[in-house]
């Protein structure tokens, strides 16, 4: 019973808003810390890759960005499911706060993929299964954001967006599978990435960068969800108290 109570307490916007505010600096600090450590290992310490030369160092942002782009979509779908099942106010806002960061991650993944592909495969873009799926994932993000932006009523936007996310998450494996199949049929195995055994420093560099991206995404999403919360709940007493409280603090 006590757990239940706590869960509800944190799910209530009035508690969550200040909590998020306190959490943001921590995640920002983690992001900076992991980022610096990861860059140090990846850019300064790690040796070159004997097949790909120094160009492989793009991996330290390409792979974390791709992971995050997929992970964020899954997290959004998770919030969507929670929101549709339990009708919690916060879930839809969380999904909306995550979407732009997820889309940026997908874009970064494509951008760095292109910059990696040019020296390795000799082309900015190849219809490789992974790049193609990533492109479709970017379309899914854009579709979600466009749908949510087109609906005026925030509650309807949450629900419709959530439904779209669930439909998308069911489709992602199907899309990935079909694209991969299509790719192998058309291209043979000509553009497989070289799978060199990775040095331990490289692996650590990549993991640290992944943690950096992860903390970064959380910090940005929390900040964004705070604006959405204020906007949505601006007629409630807690927002009024919160705003006036902040005002007092500034004057003091």
């Amino acid at each position: 019973m006590k757990d239940r109570f706590n869960l509800y307490r944190f799910a209530s916007p009035a508690t969550f808003y200040p909590l998020a505010g306190r959490m943001i600096p921590w995640f920002a600090a983690f992001a900076a810390l992991f980022g610096l450590a990861g860059l140090y290992l990846g850019m300064l310490v790690a040796p070159t890759d004997f097949q790909q030369g120094e160009g492989y160092r793009i991996i330290f942002i390409h792979v974390p960005a791709s992971w995050m782009s997929m992970f964020i979509y899954l997290v959004m779908a998770f919030w969507a499911a929670i929101g549709l099942a339990f009708n919690t106010r916060l879930s839809g806002m969380m999904a909306q706060a995550l979407a732009p960061t997820g889309a940026l991650m997908a874009f970064l993944s494509l951008w760095t993929g292109a910059l990696w592909g040019k020296p390795m495969w000799g082309a900015w873009w190849v219809w490789d299964a992974r790049l193609t799926s990533e492109l479709i994932l970017l379309f899914l993000y854009i579709g979600y954001m466009a749908l949510v932006a087109a609906i005026d009523d925030p509650r309807r936007a949450d629900k419709a967006g959530g439904l779209l996310l669930l439909v998308g998450v069911v489709n992602i494996p199907i899309i990935y599978f079909s694209v991969q199949w299509w790719n192998t049929l058309h291209q043979g195995s000509s553009v497989n990435l070289t799978k060199s055994s990775m040095a331990v420093t490289m692996l650590w560099g990549m993991l640290l960068m992944a943690f950096c991206f992860w903390s970064y995404a959380i910090a940005v999403a929390l900040a964004r969800v705070r604006s959405i919360l204020l906007e949505r709940e601006r007629h409630t007493d807690w927002v009024k108290a919160e705003l006036l409280g902040v005002g007092d603090g500034e004057r003091a």
Partner: protein, 204 residues
Amino acid sequence: MLAAEQLACVRGERRLFANVGFRLDGGELLYLQGRNGAGKTSLLRMLIGLLPPEAGQILWRGQDIHEQIDEYRAELCYLGHHNAIKEELTPLENLLLSARLADETLSEDDALDALEQVGLAGREDLACKYLSQGQKRRVALARLVKERRALWVLDEPFVALDVAAVAWLAGIISGHLQRGGLAVMTTHQPVDIPAGTVRELRLG
């Protein structure tokens, strides 16, 4: 039979009403009144189970309507401010189709009879797009003639009707109440319903 408890409605970010409740039994009619934008239509949409209430619940025969939604809807007849008729179809086709889609049996004779009652005799085979606004409304209202479901929810049923049609509709509703039916309706111009107990609920 129908009870609403502590209903609250929020549209967009405006709180339209809160703590609205009523009870309605067989043979009773509830007039829903209030200025424009007070939430009359929203309350009706809550009663028919399309709009989940922000707070509170609606009970039908003592049980929450969302726990028995198909059974509840089998006893519910709703007439919105859209006529729910297809312009390309004739009045007769419209009537038969809406009965079929609502899972009711309506014979062609009964349908013709109903159309005759609403004064559309001779126009059964004319596509509805050639009818006037009032005539289209009558096609929609013709559904009520053979309607035997217990609860009628009517959104502004008297709009666009002439005096004779208003009297006719009042008679139809009276008949429904006399059979022990319930009715909830919104209206700007209160019309005398000769039979049944009339309750009023004012929003805003």
